[in-house]
């Protein structure tokens, strides 16, 4: 989430529009992995000022809804499960 990294004043930020759990792309896709890493080291070495952000224009090759479901764990994490329990106790139905 490059916007979050900028808000947290990270010194150098490279943004990708990939699902969580995939910072360098898909398994076996060496070309994209290399592109992302090369961009990262280029920004590392070449950024002239703090909080430099460079985004990479690569579209994730999977429909959004499919990718959204795929990155999530099989079971909610403990904190999400706890939030769900709290919401249920308040009579709210929406899932995180």
């Amino acid at each position: 989430m490059p916007l979050t990294a900028v808000q947290l004043i990270a010194p150098r930020v490279v943004g990708v529009e990939f699902p969580f759990g995939h910072p360098f792309g898909r398994p076996g896709d060496r070309e994209v992995q290399r592109t992302v890493l090369e961009t990262a080291v280029t920004v590392l070495a070449g950024a002239a000022e703090p909080v430099t952000r460079v985004d990479i224009d690569i579209e994730w090759p999977q429909p959004r809804g499919e990718a959204y479901r795929a990155w999530q764990p099989a079971e909610p994490s403990p904190i999400v499960a706890e939030l769900l329990r709290q919401r249920a106790a308040r009579g709210e139905g929406a899932a995180p």
């Binding site: 916007l3 529009e17 969580f20």
Partner: protein, 166 residues
């Protein structure tokens, strides 16, 4: 082109992230100029995927997180550049693709490509894995773990680090 930071985030999580603020007391970015030529530099990788070497390192403590949902294991694992099989201990993402190819989180093969092409001087002898869910453990992470990681990188002559959150 600017990417949508929240394209794959559950909508109900949006309020937690869209107006993030630095930790209290942090007003200025940490900035270290990169003075070497990249082609002469040693580059290390840090992943927050919770990777550890299979059968050789203790995995990150997931049982502790299950007992205390607001806590995340704040320790770290040192992974040699050629680290062999890994396990992934992270309860917040599906581990399938990283376990299929750990270059998705720790791209040592791509780093080798950049070294082979002369773009980067060399790969660091060792990289680092942490487990990215750090709610209540953040103080330990900042005071102990981060300092140990810095010492490791200084000791092995690392010039630059790429941190890739999962």
């Amino acid at each position: 082109m600017q990417v949508d930071s929240f394209r794959f985030l559950p909508r109900s999580f949006l309020p937690l992230y869209e107006n993030a603020r630095p930790i209290v007391g942090e007003h200025e970015p940490v900035w270290a100029p990169f003075t070497r030529r990249l082609a002469d530099a040693s580059i290390a990788l840090v992943t927050s995927a919770g990777l550890s070497r299979a059968a050789e390192q203790e995995p990150f403590d997931l049982d502790g997180e299950r007992r205390r949902p607001a806590w995340g294991d704040p320790t770290h694992r040192v992974l040699p550049h050629r680290h062999g099989p890994v396990v992934m201990s992270h309860l917040h993402v599906n581990p399938t693709d990283i376990l299929a190819d750990d270059n998705v989180a720790l791209p040592v093969d791509a780093l080798d490509d950049l070294v082979a092409s002369g773009r980067v001087g060399r790969a660091a002898p060792a990289h680092v894995s942490v487990m990215g869910y750090q709610e209540a453990g953040l103080s330990v992470w900042r005071d102990v773990t981060a300092q140990a990681i810095v010492e490791l990188f200084r000791a092995q002559g690392t010039d630059g680090v790429v941190l890739a959150p999962v």
